[in-house]
Symmetry: none
Subunit: 190 residues, 4 copies
DNA sequence: TATGAATGAGCCTTCATTCAT
DNA sequence: AATGAATGAAGGCTCATTCAT
């Protein structure tokens, strides 16, 4: 049945797209992406119907990875603080390990090219871990502020912390990670 | 009899640019901006040498306004908490009053088109108010964390708070503003 | 164990090509034709070396069918008028029965992609019937005008008549067919 | 008020388009048209918003010219036959003088890119001359066949006649023109 | 100075054809 | 023989910038 679509190529395209979008924004041309991925211009379109399709799939790819990281790492046991702390460490580690993806996410979120459908799917990916976080925070925070603390602040603050780390010498990293967590934990206490 | 550049036109162009960039990103065409400003395509280039120039001036225009707002509002007297609280309220009010500018800032910051020079100037604009904040926070926070709390977190958290407010019914606004401030104040306490 | 080319597939491709070319012109993509024919994109090229080859074969397929219709129907006996009239009826019936093919022929003729060779073969297909028509018209027309009346006008006028019929309510069809024939017969009389 | 749109350039583009479309069909690229017209690729789009727009304007340009030719030439006096004959001569002369336009018209009509609006405008252009023809033919033809004779056959037959002329040596031209007219006049007689 | 036509590089996408499977 | 992924040359159109008026 002819040559099958190569998962390898698909990922090469997504990786090339990530690299270029992190650098030049979503304006990066499909031609440059194809070239960086080592395929012909036309080939990109056998893997992704349109550029928007590529952008949305890239978005979901990254969100999936992040969601999996959060889930995989969530501790089943321990006190609230320890569990959230562990999650926090994971979040920071993920961001530090994936600077390109962070930049891409920022570009995509601001691009106006991520569809409502993609956002819905992304939310679904985080549903489970979000619920675990909510349980862990239950006794610690004012219930009325729960959504704000989890849906808005948690990842946003982690993001800011990683930014600060990226702009600082390595020896300060641990210190900043602690400062970020303290801010979150103390700040959210009822 | 060289007619002088009209400040009125310059501002019309900046305003039109803000509106369109908020909506469509920095990809908004100079032609569309000129049209929205009510001037000819070519006229835009007698006020701004290049599109990047326009973008950078717009960036500084907005940052200047925000910096002035912060300075103008800073209370000379009162306890630390009250002064920071007042600043916080100002920040939130500015964001709520200028949703377009907030969107533009976000677009410009990820666009990769704001020069190092512009960023430096922007920092300079905030120097004075930053110092006042530092004084107010002096006894309250661990000095080693001062820069993180002021340079990274303060505006970032205000931004997130405004986002959350924008996504909520009006009757929750006050509550969110309070939640944001509590988070900041309690979280930064030594 | 070379599988022989399947006549069935060849015709499926030609039929699909006819359908799509009638609708979208010769710009119809080979991919869309293959899909409509239920074969793979590449398969089309094992049956037709190039798109132009497909177009030319389609042209000849239709011309062959029309020529056969004309020959098969030509009455051996009867007066000139009756024989031409019978032919006329055949022509009209063929056109009414094969609207897609008529559209395709029109597209192909203006496409500039039908080779001189194909046109020559097409002429050859009509040679015999053309001679019969010439014999039937012999006493009726000025010999110097014979070629014009047969080679240019006959099919052209039939074409126009079918167009007019297609644009009219059914009850007028017979009337138009008669009008067309009258025009031809009376108009060509010496 | 800056450089005004140049009617000269507009017509150069239309002329270049006509030349290329006559030769290669509506598939002629906008790049090749611009080049042939001696303007930059982008310039074409300041005169015609889209390629379809160019095609439709070209269509109307040609139809307008033909309609004007017919009107300008229509004799106010004389018998029916003489008036139709005069019109016939005009039609043939126009076709012989404008072989490129005839080819273009054929291409455009078959292209599926002429809008309903353009066809409606085209009809409007011919309304007046059509009425004059109808008056001239009034006593000569069966009223029920009037529309068929005027709207379908007249121009179609002239077209065919010009084709035959174009394919014949010059000394036969007059003869063919006569043969075409005879066919029309005698054929339409009641 | 203000205008908007002119420019041509660049963008996303399509397509006939080839070739690995 | 059949399949459909791979290819890269176009194609239509947009856009920042220049320049004649």
């Amino acid at each position: 049945m002819a040559r099958p679509l190569s998962e390898e190529k698909r990922e090469a395209i997504l990786a090339a797209a990530a690299e270029l979008i992190a650098t030049s924004g979503t304006g990066a041309s499909t031609a440059s992406i194809a070239k960086a991925a080592g395929v012909a211009e036309g080939t990109l379109f056998t893997y992704f119907a349109t550029k928007d399709d590529l952008l949305n799939q890239l978005f979901l790819e990254i969100e999936t990875n992040l969601a999996q990281t959060m889930m995989a790492a969530y501790p089943a046991k321990g006190g609230s603080r320890e569990r959230i702390r562990h999650l926090w460490d994971r979040l920071i580690a993920w961001g530090a390990a994936n600077p390109t993806w962070r930049k891409v996410l920022r570009q995509l979120k601001v691009s106006g090219r991520i569809t409502a459908e993609s956002r819905r799917r992304s939310n679904a990916l985080f549903r489970e871990s979000r619920e675990l976080v909510e349980q862990s925070m239950a006794g610690h925070v004012d219930p009325e502020r729960m959504s704000f603390y989890i849906d808005t602040v948690l990842i946003g603050l982690a993001d800011m912390t990683i930014d600060a780390m990226a702009a600082s010498p390595k020896k300060q990293h641990e210190h900043l990670k602690q400062a970020g967590f303290d801010l979150y934990w103390k700040g959210t206490a009822v």
